[in-house]
């Protein structure tokens, strides 16, 4: 998949450099591990190339093993932590500035999640 074409010499040199680096690199070095920070003894754990902050699916999360068994019980409760303590306002309303009372009609995530409203800026 390539959508960008180099149109000047500098861009062509960057393109050549990136291609050269890719040839030299180990396969594991080409993984996208952005937004990940893990201690040295867990470096070989699963990768999540796209963290929950880049996915527009409320409550989408995976635990440190790549599954869902380590999430909240009930799992619906995770959405509240995205809202209150995670501070990634990409897929839930921004609790700090814009929508501090978003959960006012949803006291319990498991029972009342249908009452959560869409928020428009």
């Amino acid at each position: 998949m390539k959508h960008i074409k180099a149109v000047n010499q500098k861009a062509a040199r960057i393109e050549a450099w990136v291609a050269h680096e890719a040839e030299q690199a180990q396969p594991s070095e080409l993984d996208v591990v952005g937004l990940e920070s893990r201690p040295p003894h867990e470096q070989n754990g699963p990768n999540f190339p796209l963290g929950c902050s880049l996915v527009f699916a409320p409550g989408w999360e995976a635990d440190s093993a790549g599954g869902t068994a380590g999430l909240c019980q009930p799992v619906e409760r995770d959405i509240f932590d995205c809202h209150l303590s995670c501070f990634w306002p990409a897929h839930v309303p921004d609790q700090l500035n814009h929508s501090p009372d978003w959960t006012s009609k949803c006291a319990s995530a498991q029972k009342d999640w249908r009452k959560l409203d869409l928020i428009f800026p």
Binding site: D63, S64, A65, G67, A69, G70, L71, C72, Q73, P74, R77, F80, D81, L84, S85, Q95, L96, N97, P100, D101, T103, S104, C106, A107, S108, A109, Q110, K111
Partner: protein
């Protein structure tokens, strides 16, 4: 028939007398549970009922600090912009303050009230919204006058090192402000000059590795003591060890004993009698949970029992020592028998909780 009636009456009298004695002598604790609404629930442990609700002025009470006298709580809202003061006798909000004004937002990320409740130390960051950008300043350590609602001093950073997080607390008499950094630094409670230092960044004894002991007292710790589970590396055999420590902060003393190989035990919680403590073994990702019981008198692990558990859980002990509570991240508290670790029941609230703090109460209790 008469004999039977007599014995029945006597049995009823004895039963009633027994009930009366039990109620009068019953020990309980009130739990204050923040929710994702404006309310704080007041839950009585013995009757297992929500006995009161405290309506806050701001949405989502997210953090709580209990004062030294245990008669008021300071509650921070979800935006970290407002602190509200709740009188625990009337269960009402009696005051509030904010450091934000106009285009300047100050988020309160740490708070420690002086035992007099006249001033507090605040750990905060300031965000100024300009036409084209935000200017972020801090973090700062501030002295705040709770009576006049003004910032009265800026507290210098320990060792001149600014930090993104730090824990601090006053001594019970308010004379000392402790800063918990790499070392524990004691500052004068008024001038904020260093008066003492406990160098916990170096081993406390020759031959043992560096260790970090807990310094925050638990609900059932005796005054001036903090009991905690700690880990350290045995430098001779290069292995991690686990043990239990009692820290007396004012005396810079620590009494500790080791239990053996370090295991992933968390939520160390002291029982009301101080002779036992409990912890939760949490390993792996799929339901590998165990209750651990620690015998503090004979200095050993006295019991281990697997149980269902939760991926995110906190452990509490009832005021009478008979029940264990598993809670956190939800709207339920699971109740277990503290002796057998058998599951008893689940308490269900209408609201998910943001924080839970329990304040033991001893004396006459009437459900």
């Amino acid at each position: 028939m008469m004999r039977m009636l007599d014995s029945g009456v006597w049995a009823l009298i004895i039963l009633m007398a027994g009930t009366s004695i039990t109620l009068e002598a019953q020990e309980t604790a009130l739990w204050y549970l923040g929710t994702y609404t404006r309310d704080i629930l007041v839950w009585d442990e013995a009757s297992e009922q929500v006995v009161d609700r405290i309506e806050m002025g701001h949405h989502t009470p997210a953090d709580i600090v209990v004062n030294e006298g245990k008669d008021r709580i300071y509650v921070r809202d979800g935006t970290a912009l407002h602190m509200e003061l709740v009188d625990l006798k009337t269960k009402e909000v009696v005051d509030e303050f904010t450091l934000s004004q106009g285009n300047v937002t100050v988020r309160i990320n740490g708070f420690a009230p002086h035992p007099s409740d006249e001033k507090a130390v605040i750990f905060a960051k300031r965000y100024t919204k300009l036409r084209d950008r935000y200017v972020v300043e801090g973090p700062f350590l501030l002295e705040y006058d709770l009576t006049n609602k003004t910032v009265t001093d800026t507290i210098p950073w320990p060792d001149d090192q600014e930090r993104e997080s730090i824990r601090f607390q006053y001594s019970p008499d308010g004379e000392i402000l402790y800063m918990f950094a790499e070392d524990i630094i004691a500052l004068d409670g008024s001038s904020y000059e260093e008066v003492d230092r406990w160098q916990i960044s170096t081993p406390i004894e020759s031959g043992v590795g560096r260790s970090r002991f807990g310094t925050a007292p638990q609900p059932y710790d005796e005054e001036g003591v903090a009991t905690s589970l700690f880990r350290m590396t045995d430098p001779v055999q290069n292995r991690r060890l686990m043990g239990i420590a009692k820290v007396r902060l004012s005396e810079k003393k620590v009494e500790f004993f080791t239990l053996g190989e370090a295991r992933p035990v968390r939520n160390f919680t002291l029982a009301p009698d101080g002779k036992k403590a409990y912890g939760l073994l949490e390993q792996g990702n799929i339901a590998e949970y165990e209750f651990w019981e620690f015998d503090l008198v004979n200095q050993r692990v006295s019991k281990r029992v697997p149980f269902a558990g939760r991926p995110r859980m906190t452990l509490g002990v009832s005021a009478d020592g008979e029940h264990l509570f598993i809670y956190n991240a939800g709207n339920t508290i699971d109740v277990y028998d503290a002796e057998t670790f058998d599951y008893i029941k689940q308490i269900v609230f209408d609201e998910d909780t943001t924080f839970e703090v329990m304040i033991p109460e001893t004396g006459n209790f009437t459900p």
